[in-house]
């Protein structure tokens, strides 16, 4: 329980604003190289991402101090990046190190350099007040680089507001309708669920007991228990951590073997790792991975799971893009909530508070 300092905003904003004082994933670690800068817009800031001579990832504003040419079209030269237009060079702090046509360097010549942390196979950047950038607040995604887990993922470029993706992941009853051929089943919308929340987190827990395993889970059970058939207990425990990371503990175990009580040895367990980075108010970089804690040695299973989830998330992507188009086509219509939206509404409440603390409105500026 938190004591209210100011009344929460009532209606759900359709185009949700995003906090600036937060770590967002800018890229997978392998995408940022010392060979060539990567251009990517993170939370409204166009960035040039590259690695310096020590292999450290660097994020500079993607506009040269001189005439604003994009540095991402330039060259990485050891510890420096060179503007493609008139050859100014900058170090990883964003300070100009060379002005080819003169003997001194203008003391004002700098481009913004943003704090970067590499963790959990991702490059995280902080585009807000650099003095608040505390690496200990990078959301927990430890399954990504733990030796107890194996798996892989992809990036979806989603043409929708980031909050629509958070809504999608906080309520999985949509699986029954959107993902009917893989993970959907009737029991999803029938099962009870429980929501809890803290200052930075929301958890939604759902157990479905003694049910048939849907195709995706039947295959996974058979990877671990060859020839398995029969009923399962299925769980989905959705962990949200502000501002936009959702790790979903999912799995099934042979029915009645004690999984709900904590013994998951007769089951298979995965973590759907999702972290969503707003690009603009209407576009998002959606980084996901599927991690498992069984048959760690098998690349076949890693590849099959990545492809399987790729297919499932493709269905979400279509829905989210269509939803964003409908929102934009009906500017005078509001959002209404169902009981299943409780998790997503707590997420909005937490984001609202973060935005208020930064003096930002919860609705992003109109298009």
């Amino acid at each position: 329980m938190t004591i209210l300092e100011s009344p929460p905003v009532t209606a759900a904003s359709k185009i949700f604003n995003f906090p600036r004082n937060a770590w967002y994933v800018a890229a997978w670690d392998h995408e940022v190289t010392a060979k060539q800068p990567l251009a990517r817009t993170i939370a409204g800031r166009p960035l040039a991402l590259w690695r310096n001579g020590d292999g450290r990832a660097v994020a500079l504003a993607d506009a040269c101090w001189h005439r604003l040419a994009p540095l991402s079209k330039g060259k990485v030269l050891g510890d420096e990046i060179q503007c493609p237009y008139h050859g100014l060079r900058y170090n990883s702090a964003g300070r100009c190190t060379s002005m080819p046509a003169q003997e001194t360097i203008n003391p004002s010549a700098t481009v913004p350099s943003y704090p970067v942390v590499e963790r959990y196979r991702y490059v995280w950047v902080w585009v807000g007040d650099p003095d608040l950038a505390d690496p200990s607040t990078v959301p927990d995604m430890h399954q990504m680089d733990s030796s107890d887990w194996a798996g892989d993922g992809e990036t979806i470029y989603a043409p929708c507001n980031y909050q629509l993706i958070l809504d999608n992941l906080m309520d999985l009853t949509h699986e029954e309708f959107v993902h009917s051929s893989s993970i959907g089943q009737d029991e999803l919308s029938e099962a009870e669920f429980e929501v809890s929340h803290s200052e930075r987190g929301v958890t939604v827990t759902r157990w479905m007991r003694d049910i048939d395993a849907p195709p995706f889970w039947l295959k996974n059970m058979r990877d671990k228990f060859p020839g398995f058939s029969g009923k399962v207990d299925r769980w989905q425990i959705i962990h949200f951590e502000a501002p936009s990371t959702i790790c979903i503990d999912v799995g099934v175990a042979k029915a009645g073997t004690g999984a709900p009580e904590g013994d998951r040895s007769q089951g298979v367990n995965g973590y759907v790792m999702n972290t969503i980075t707003p690009e603009t108010a209407r576009t998002s970089h959606y980084f996901w991975a599927f991690m498992r804690n069984y048959r760690l040695e098998s690349q076949t299973i890693t590849t099959q799971l990545r492809q399987g989830v790729h297919g499932v998330f493709g269905e979400d992507e279509d829905m989210l893009a269509a939803q964003q188009r409908a929102i934009d086509a009906n500017p005078d219509h509001e959002f209404y909530s169902l009981n299943i939206d409780a998790g997503g509404m707590w997420v909005r409440r937490i984001l609202d508070r973060m935005l208020q603390a930064e003096g930002l409105p919860s609705a992003a500026a109109a298009k």
Binding site: A93, G94, R95, T97, E103, T104, N106, T110, S113, P130
Partner: protein, 337 residues
Amino acid sequence: MAVNTQTWWQQGRVVETSDLAEGVRRIVLAPDRPVHAVPGTHVDLRLDLDGHSRKRSYSVVRSDDGGRRLTLGVQLAPSSRGGSRHMHGLEPGDVVEMTGPVQSFPLGVGADRYVLVAGGIGVTALVAMADALRRRGADYTLVLAGRSRRVMAYLDELVEAHGDRVRVFVDDEDVRLDVGELVGEIAGSPAAARTEMYMCGPIRLMDAIRRAWAAHELPEPNLRFETFGSSGAWAAEDFVVHLPQLGRSVHVGKDTSMLDALEDAGVEVMWDCRKGECGICQVKVLDVNGRIDHRDVFLSQQQKETYASLCLCVARAARGESGSGSADPAAVTLHLP
């Protein structure tokens, strides 16, 4: 670090004034479009001086309440054209025309060590940086140098806030800053190549540090500074500019710049920063009677010594030590582009 060079104008109401030190006034402004001012930023004010609208810049010492209260510290300039005198006359309730925070002196992140060096009123540009470094838990040293304790703004407050991270040097107590020692100590430390220095102060102090920095082969980009654009090797005095191309001579009073004097005389010249940084206003020098007080940071030391060119926006001619008794004003002969 956000470099924001976008300038937009707004109104600011003076909400508080007080004395910070002898000749230094504290002025708190409440802008009507508040934006938090990060360390290193300044605001430009448009002041009406003798019927001319003139721009003057002042560093933001503190930004409180998301930029709703911006504190400035203004020193009364000895031969002021009126900017600082006007500022000293402000009272609560007065309204000024001002920009939002402008950033041209951003504090970096990720250095192993930071050394901040303030000479005189230059301290205003460094107070917020020191606070930010303390909050970050960074390794930093704050060097404060001044003529006498009476005129050093923020001295007690900074000593209290930063304890033994502060080193104080006061001319009239004979505890003078030894630039060679300061820079030598940095160069000799294991963090040498990853130490950033931020300085703001009289041009002579900054020139000495720049020379020492180069002599120790410390990385040039790690030395950051802001010029307040109004100090030189000699006190400002009247001088004459000869322009043989135009067959004219223009008198430059001690209270105007060469650039202003030429423009007032109808001579068209090119400029951008007007504080000796960009070099756009550079012109060729054909002859000098006296010395050139360059006051810019665009030309290299060597270029300055050859007297081949100067930056119109800040350079002055002076008679120098030798000519101090002479009746004729100093003069420069220029070739305009």
